[in-house]
Symmetry: C2
Subunit: 111 residues, 2 copies
DNA sequence: CACCTTCATCGTAATATTGCAATATACTTA
DNA sequence: TAAGTATATTGCAATATTACGATGAAGGTG
């Protein structure tokens, strides 16, 4: 085994899990946070900011891009990365939805 | 390798990554959603609801509990599970924070 | 053109995750 | 106490992830 049994879950559950999984690593959290720290988008220097080798960072960036969390614009020799708001918005509204539902059933809890 | 280089990232980044990681699997998403679907907490029948074996579900529950996302109350022979609002609140505010910052720099974007 | 820079890909080693059968533990009830 | 029920743990196989050195591709510069 070792492979997730994707086929047994709903498409929504798999979609949100994939999106969440893309952020389930401190390096990718760090990348997203770094992309936000600056005023505009970042062109190139992500590798210098992270304590990981260039191939590793490239791999993490690829995962973020595949998940739709970041976008990359090629600009000559470098690439300009920035966060895709839509993906973040999805995550935010997902957790906001859970929070709202939790608030509703506050009185019906046993633990 | 294969092990995450936790020591190179900030404690905050590792903390939020761990929390996110706990939800980075459709089965655990399904568990959390099932816990919310009902009026009160669930005592026992999580295994029947999931397309996975009892040991596998037990393992996923353990991970969610370790991460602090759910609480389990032992009640005689069964266990009553429910979501820990604090953890969800943390996640929600994390993504809300990112969203807010993204809103601010909307005009400074190149892609 | 030769060389440098930037980023991606390949190949591979180390480790982690997923899933389940078998078994253990703990409580309940007959 | 014996049998049944609910959940946890163990042990293992299959697969995925993480990380990096080496190398490749593509654009820029002397």
């Amino acid at each position: 085994m070792g492979a997730t049994k994707t086929e047994h879950f709903t498409e929504k559950q798999n979609t949100i899990a994939t999106l969440i999984k893309a952020l389930a690593h401190p390096a990718r959290i760090a990348i997203v946070e770094y992309l936000m720290k600056t005023e505009a988008c970042i062109c190139g220097d992500i590798v210098d900011e992270l304590p990981l080798s260039q191939p590793t960072v490239s791999q993490h960036l690829k995962e973020l891009k595949t998940a739709g969390l970041i976008k990359g614009n090629v600009e000559g020799n470098t690439i300009c990365y920035c966060i895709d708001e839509k993906a973040i918005a999805k995550l935010q509204s997902y957790f906001a939805g859970i929070s709202a539902k939790l608030e509703k059933k506050k009185d019906n809890k046993c633990c």
